[in-house]
Symmetry: C2
């Protein structure tokens, strides 16, 4: 049996998109070939820049941190649901039911809105978001990780009112359902796939960049 | 069949050890719970701080970069060889033969020197290194990745003479054998294990932090 690998991550590069409440990714050369015998770079980024994993600590003080997440929770069956919804609309329970895909306890549920294909363009930030009723339904289903191919599972940044309090993040993370944002799901839509998403082991961290890899047995 | 997961990575934290030619890992809070609705952190680190993967670009200008490494090369059978050698001595072909472990093309070969248990202590940097003859032998064996539980596969930093040119890095990376440094192999010594080590997808990168995870089927 052979295996096919899929990169479900967006690339990191200077000038890559980032939400206003996080920060950019920058690279500086510490040593350079031609001058020095080795090339070494310095990276600066936030815990929520690019394809990243949210730990419960992102939203509440007693929440589990990145380094406390059991590795067993970071590898699993994933269903990728195709939800090509217009910008700023809500993804609903009905959208999941319409997919015909079976949601089981422990599953990773990734939402393919199509935004991932716009990564790097201004309209990337005009995306749909997960409805509160769908988040409650996913909590009841006891899924393991929720992923999305846009910058947040919550309402788009440019639609938020003062006092906005990240209700979808709260509901999911308080129930220890992990969140992955900025996925690239263009090649795996409407499929079941096995996913590995081990973050960098940063002590006490609220979030971490992560390479998300899907593997399909052929 | 159940699976057991092993974290083969060292943790990232402020004050963690780093080689003088790379740089430290630092964390700054961008937003903080209690004051802000979410916690977001800013990380600064080098491409070769902590448990990391070296791409061939680390050592030569036309070498493959982190984002160009096929995912298939980052998951595979790994043998962990126990080599409890004194500081500054060389790990030899005989050490590998004495292990009784079979080295096959494509294998990941990880060297457990015992240094990983000293991570965070000054003597962590007093480690053995891979001999040139062993590196040539591993190239001939067409292995996929070489890993070690200390800061470099080359001579320890504090033993280098002016003009030192990283001969082991050159030989391995010029033959497209990838390198992982700062592993923690305390729990998997003298064993065969399946390893996943997907780095962050950083464009044109010479290196990347990586979570290295071993999985054993029971």
């Amino acid at each position: 049996m052979s295996k096919k690998f899929f990169d479900l991550s967006q690339p990191y590069y200077e000038g890559m998109p980032y939400a206003p409440n996080v920060g950019p990714f920058t690279i500086k050369k510490i040593s350079q070939l031609g001058v020095d015998p080795i090339q070494v770079s310095e990276y600066k980024l936030s815990s929520h820049t690019g394809t990243h994993l949210d730990a419960p600590r992102h939203i509440y003080q007693s929440g589990m941190t990145i380094d406390q997440i059991p590795l067993e929770r970071l590898a699993g069956r994933c269903i990728v649901i195709n939800v090509p919804k217009p910008p700023f609309t809500l993804i609903t329970i009905q959208d999941v039911l319409d997919s015909g895909l079976d949601v089981r306890p422990g599953d990773f549920v990734f939402f393919h809105t199509g935004c991932g294909a716009k990564f790097g363009r201004p309209e990337y930030f005009n995306h749909p978001s997960i409805s509160l009723e769908l988040a409650e339904w996913l909590v009841a289903k006891k899924v393991g990780i929720i992923g999305i191919d846009c910058s947040t599972v919550d309402l788009a940044n440019n639609q938020r009112q003062p006092g906005f309090n990240f209700p979808i993040h709260h509901l999911l993370l308080e129930n220890e359902i992990l969140i992955i944002e900025h996925l690239n799901l263009e090649k795996v839509s409407s499929r079941e796939i096995y996913v590995y998403c081990f973050p960098i082991s940063i002590k006490d961290a609220d979030g971490s960049p992560v390479r998300v890899v899907g593997i399909m047995s052929l």
